[in-house]
């Protein structure tokens, strides 16, 4: 995916361009996340591609996204706790 950090602004920065690039970067990150979700949720949920996604598959896919986010949050929070306790990586 194109690396938007190639665009550097000097101090006389054009704020319209900066805002635009920040917004595009966010959109690009959102899309990258979708690609990642779709990658493993497809593997987990889709057996044989049919004429449409049946409701079981659709439920599986939306659960997959939600549970992955839950896992990410859980791991982040628990890791933060571990760091506070002085644990984590030695």
């Amino acid at each position: 995916m194109s690396d938007l950090s190639d665009f550097s602004m000097d101090k006389g920065g054009d704020s319209e361009l900066q805002d635009f690039l920040i917004a595009e970067k966010q959109k690009a990150q959102f899309n990258a996340q979708i690609h990642e979700f779709n990658d493993f949720c497809w593997d987990k949920c889709v057996d044989k591609p049919g004429a449409k996604l049946d409701s079981r598959t659709e439920t599986c896919i939306s659960n997959c996204v939600e549970r992955f986010i839950d896992v990410s949050l859980l791991i982040t929070n628990r890791f933060a706790q571990m760091l506070e306790k002085g644990g984590g990586m030695q």
């Binding site: 995916m1 194109s2 054009d14 361009l17 690609h35 949720c41 497809w42 986010i69």
Partner: protein
């Protein structure tokens, strides 16, 4: 891309730059999608690679592409509404 020496871009040049960036991002996104679909659909549809793609394999690929994009849209909607929910908490 060189760093932008800003302040010296005319309105039209800025427009053009903005359009180019949008286009490059859209192309990159499409390329990613195509690469994923090729991988996933090959895995699902081509079980024993023969000397050519037969009819059922071609139909499977076409359906697979459509389903992959359906899944993409569903993931996008699910993610978007989850983000909204997290924001509203």
């Amino acid at each position: 891309m060189d760093s932008l020496s800003t302040g010296s871009l005319s309105g039209a040049q800025k427009e053009e730059l903005i359009d180019q960036v949008k286009q490059q991002i859209a192309i990159a996104n499409a390329q990613e999608l195509l690469a994923k679909m090729s991988e996933k659909c090959f895995k699902k549809c081509i079980n024993k690679p023969g000397t050519a793609l037969d009819n059922s394999e071609q139909k499977c690929i076409a359906m697979c592409m459509d389903r992959y994009m359906d899944a993409w849209n569903l993931v996008s909607r699910t993610y978007r509404s989850r983000i909204q929910r997290e924001r509203n908490m």
